[in-house]
Symmetry: C3
Subunit: 339 residues, 3 copies
Amino acid sequence: MPDPRFFMKSSARSLAEIALLAGAEPGPGADLDCRLEDVAPLDVATANDLSFLDNVKYKDQFLTTKAGACFVSASVADLAPKGLNLLISKHPYKSYALAAQYFYPEPVPESDISPQAHVAADAQIGEGCRIEAGAVIMSGAKIGAQSWIEAGAVIGCNVEIGTHCRIGPTSSVSHALIGDHTRLYPGVRIGQDGFGFAIDPAGHVKVPQLGRVIIGDHVEIGANSCIDRGAGPDTVIGHGTWIDNLVQIGHNAKIGQGCIIVAQVGIAGSTVLEDFVAMGGQSAVAGHLKIGAGARIGAQSGVMKDIAPGQEYLGTPAVPIKQFMRQVALLGKMVKKNT
Amino acid sequence: MPDPRFFMKSSARSLAEIALLAGAEPGPGADLDCRLEDVAPLDVATANDLSFLDNVKYKDQFLTTKAGACFVSASVADLAPKGLNLLISKHPYKSYALAAQYFYPEPVPESDISPQAHVAADAQIGEGCRIEAGAVIMSGAKIGAQSWIEAGAVIGCNVEIGTHCRIGPTSSVSHALIGDHTRLYPGVRIGQDGFGFAIDPAGHVKVPQLGRVIIGDHVEIGANSCIDRGAGPDTVIGHGTWIDNLVQIGHNAKIGQGCIIVAQVGIAGSTVLEDFVAMGGQSAVAGHLKIGAGARIGAQSGVMKDIAPGQEYLGTPAVPIKQFMRQVALLGKMVKKNT
Amino acid sequence: MPDPRFFMKSSARSLAEIALLAGAEPGPGADLDCRLEDVAPLDVATANDLSFLDNVKYKDQFLTTKAGACFVSASVADLAPKGLNLLISKHPYKSYALAAQYFYPEPVPESDISPQAHVAADAQIGEGCRIEAGAVIMSGAKIGAQSWIEAGAVIGCNVEIGTHCRIGPTSSVSHALIGDHTRLYPGVRIGQDGFGFAIDPAGHVKVPQLGRVIIGDHVEIGANSCIDRGAGPDTVIGHGTWIDNLVQIGHNAKIGQGCIIVAQVGIAGSTVLEDFVAMGGQSAVAGHLKIGAGARIGAQSGVMKDIAPGQEYLGTPAVPIKQFMRQVALLGKMVKKNT
């Protein structure tokens, strides 16, 4: 059970209600009135808990679970232990997410401008905002309604932040326009100058960075990640893109919608990721490249050329995943033969 | 000599006293009354300085050092220059560390709650704590005795921090229970939501992250490192583990005791490191893996499979270190032959 | 046109004036009195805009640009579209940088010590400094004239910062001496203890870190980068070195002048980079190595041996770039043959 010091739970719901909110169908014989009080993993769930099976790796736990109900795909319903209420879903993990969101909704910030926050007289703060102690909102900044500026965050001059945003503790934003329902985790850095200069033995000459960072709606940017502003064009992050912790995005990069950027990724300047690109942890893309929609780049890969839509690449330099696997297999075989 | 603006030195001690506190034995003929005033590297040490030889790379410096005394292992004692007082130790570097700790003890925070800190009325602050300007302690948080919350740090609601901890400037902690004598360096991020969502073209669906971060005693976490809270289970960091700067630890990861995690490492979600695992800089472990006790993973490696206890791995994908060396050698040979 | 909410433009200048300030020569037939009002990329520039051609990749844009004037090298002047005023430069990108600096000069901080900053009574603040809300300046710190300490930055006891510096929001500095005209971007961590301890199963023993961080003049350090202080010797960053975001520099490292360190690089302890070394993104150098002046290390490389001056290395373990290219080609050929 989640620690009640940190998480506030909603009230119990019947299986029928859960099915409805989670986009699932009660399985054959399921008890529609069964009360579900909480969510829990298969192996620790009890009769009042709702669980899910998404990854076949956990099938054994499914066979013996004591959960009260369980989201599953139709294909594994037959394996269910006797008496387990099933909730059949095309996307069991998504259904679980929706149910968990019901039981544990995102905290809604209590509207309050802390007297210990530092808000410029001409900043515009929307209705219902929460501005915490130590936060600094500079001249001309606009914060949309219901947004939450956490402790010690610094919002620069004339920055615009949409509604229902959450800006994490001690993060900083400048030269940026941010959409609605977007969240910056703690320590995120948005809008600082990109890494631009003319190389000169007498002292590199700074190139003024004259663009902005434009961030869409429903974007999440993980802790201590950095997004530099453009050099002339803007740096852009599309709607619904999820960025993990410690990610670096260089000036002028354009990241499409719905992309997934795992921790410690680096995206060099002026590179374009089309929609729904996924990049594994610690991978990187060189500058001025184009990564096609839906392409997938494996962890630690180093991409040095454009990638066509839908392709899966791996390795440094990154190659199609099948070729990478062959390289690894071949190298292994040769080493064996030579020793 | 360390800069007195930044370091405060304890008073001189005799060689006999030093031997005692550092777990070393005076060598044959050593002057037990010799006064030692400071520590210094072999090449710059003078007659009042204490030094050490641990790495054979520095043997030449040992042969000509002007140090007043030197920690060495018994095996090299014979090489000592005439007149150098030896302190024989099984672990010369550890003995040096203990002596250096005597001369330069960790600063003890002056007990003080700054009037410029923002402490919630119902936060519990132990005796002897130091809470600096700009720090924010939220409702229900508990800070153990003698702990030191540095400037601008943000401690979230109901977080518990043990005694003798030090929480670095502008770091942030939420959803976490932290043991005693643990230190977060500047800019550390603890307890934010892990990277969890159901992929959906219509907008990825957030999976509430319902676990905590549990950190043991005597843990060190380097600057700007990030540890996400669990998705359901907790993320756990065992006693005495040392984590360097800019490290990423994903949700549900379990890190054992005494592990050593060098800078810029990434540990993906739900992975387990047993006790005393060492990971070199920029290496990474994929999710849901188990790394056995005492295993060693080389710098920049990418681990894609479980590793048995005590094994040494290197490369991407990581292989046993001997195999990696053979791959490198073989590739080098083939390139030569083909050009 | 740069967003006027974020960038303030200087007044128009004649082509003759621009040529002078940017170190360029008006091309044959150029209209010396032509008024230029702004800078812009070739493809969007209009008759009042100044542009540049530096990278041959953008030649097509040059052929059709509507810019009022353009910096080019003499070698491509013949290709210019009719009527385009040329500004001939040996270094067109540098000339552009100087012109852009004229139109968009770095913001000069308005002198002000915010009543919401926390400045120790015995800190020394030079003339014309700007200290923003939430910044913390500790006892004995010295800030040189015209320096700018941004919101929430924390300057530790006895730290010295030169003149015309800019210390980014929520960054932190301790145990450091910083030169003039140096800039730390947001979230930078300077001077925390290096990662030093004697390994011990009973609990690793901390080795006191007794050095400092010494940073030269005209240094730039990117967002969320970390530079640890020395263990005994100092960690040193030379004049005019540019460091990008999320870079890690370990204790005792010595970085020369004019180096270029791209994002997410890791430099391990006690390593020396001579002057004008360039390191690509996510590359790393192991500890105790020496990288010769002007050496270039490719992105994601892992350097495990010294590199001679002027050499170009790539790969993990890093090898001369030609050898790396041969390895990649050979491996590709073999995979083809074997499938």
